[in-house]
Point group: C2
Chain length 342, copies 2
Amino acid sequence: MTTMREVADRAGVSIATVSFVLNDTKPVTPATRERIETAMAELGFRRNAMARALASRRSHLLALAYPALEHKLGSTGMEFVTGAAAAAREMEYHLVLWPVSNDATELGELVADGLADGVLLMEVLLDDPRIEVLQRAGLPFSLIGRTADPDALDYVDIDFDQTMTIALDHLQELGHQRIALLQEGPLQRLLQSYGPKRRTRQAFRRMTRHRGLDVVVLDCPPTVGGGRQAVTRLVAEHPDLTAIMVQNEHAAAGVVSGLQSVGVAVPRDMSVLSFLTSPDMAMMSDPELTMLRAPGTALGDLGVRRLIDLVEAKPRPTEPAAPQLIPCELVAGETTAAAPSR
Amino acid sequence: MTTMREVADRAGVSIATVSFVLNDTKPVTPATRERIETAMAELGFRRNAMARALASRRSHLLALAYPALEHKLGSTGMEFVTGAAAAAREMEYHLVLWPVSNDATELGELVADGLADGVLLMEVLLDDPRIEVLQRAGLPFSLIGRTADPDALDYVDIDFDQTMTIALDHLQELGHQRIALLQEGPLQRLLQSYGPKRRTRQAFRRMTRHRGLDVVVLDCPPTVGGGRQAVTRLVAEHPDLTAIMVQNEHAAAGVVSGLQSVGVAVPRDMSVLSFLTSPDMAMMSDPELTMLRAPGTALGDLGVRRLIDLVEAKPRPTEPAAPQLIPCELVAGETTAAAPSR
DNA sequence: CTGAAAGCGCTTACAG
DNA sequence: CTGAAAGCGCTTACAG
């Protein structure tokens, strides 16, 4: 390992000057800069990350905190992680993974270790105890998703309203008037305070009312079997439905197969639209699911860039930056079509 | 932030002594230990990670390097990552993500930064340029997967032989005699040197010959459409096949739907077995895929623990530890059944 | 069993 | 524009 000392000696300067060219933090004569740069190149010098971190009080490490228990991050979760890691890399930061329990003590300890310059929080709950811990620690952080009242926080999230608009536009253009929304449930302790479910439901209720559509809202377990059972009941009780939105990919697959097993053809007799879904999953279904693709990579990328902005902000900002909301993209599959005429 | 200095002052000792109890590295009288521990508790002291790293020349950071380009890590890749992160956490290490290009220069630079104590390499190629870089750097590393000639290396991998034995046992118990293996292909530059494909194929060829089974081996694109097309040709050219093993989950789904669309019922007329697959994916297919479940979490966990062993080994070991191979687990779905009698 | 001191490899006022 | 020196918060021989 070659140190700044060796570079300085070889270039005939002090280590301070080496540091100045490395960080471009003070003016240096072209001539000496030149000498230093060739010395660095010849020695293959790379500045030690730990020493830099300690001296500059900046580790260039960003932590990604996610709930350790549900160690199913899912396909969208993975997109999020890789998107965040790629953005961090591009900005010359590193992303470190913090699988922590949802009670915030573990997170608090990690934060106190002074390892990370900032924290990115995934799977944010509507009332999330982790946030208070981060605030008290005074460490920069931003959220993927948001709490019930996120105005004072820095976050990126899915644009649920816009996504719902896209979904309803799609279905209405196809002539659908009676639409069901099927979501994960019954609410468990944890999901009770889970934003995407609530926000989707609210947008659905509000917008369908405004558009004068007939709707049904139902919960089912987030599994293939759950979707299958739920849809059987659903079509029995609401024979006039022509389209179903499903907010869980496994349930969506179950809905499709459940429909077909009771003689309802998809998409001829019934359209199915899978909400907040990843292509990997949607393609596995037969017929392939039409989906609103969750913007996992984009959110990961954005989240990291915002966090870096926060970390590097010269005076600590008092107001959070305006939140960024990204809608899901409609990706045509084979499960939506014109509503059957009656 | 409270430092060791403050703890030492409050306990009336030197910072050296504080360090000794923190690291349990020298005997300390119960009485002073007591004083120090209460001082730490009262102050909420947490030792600074950067300072510790610099002084001890150990960062407690482990890097997970994966190819940045194919930023599809897939469902098993995710299991691997979360398994590794959880194990690292449990061992009081941190996992940092290094999405790097497959040419090894980027990896070389990161290694030279002195950030990580060791590197875990994912998606190992049969001839992998990254390995030489790590060897030359002298940094501990271990592999998930292995090169063509891995004897001198430290790795964990899937036990392909054992997995193939489980698969063939399963199919033979069901009476299957004529079996196809469908894998990803045609080989692209990168996949050409991809181990799992080659090892599966070799195990398949060797074991089926030994068991006196009739076989077909074929490549297809790793997509639903690829599987669908391939299987259509396959059954036309080999009408006596009764079972197909597929080494890509998307292709497996395509095989199932392709078969049904040409009037071959699954599993009545044809069994389909999905190789190295994740439950998340298998469940999306209809009927649900019978699979050999890839041990993603276990490999991630093991890989990290081995790497930590390496990092902490007192004299640098000259021989690698014996490799650990983990077979896939057979998970019953709905796509395998007794061979049709002819 | 405990402490004084050097040192890890950088950054950053402070002087000149 | 450049350098000497203090300092980041720990660990670790070395003494006693």
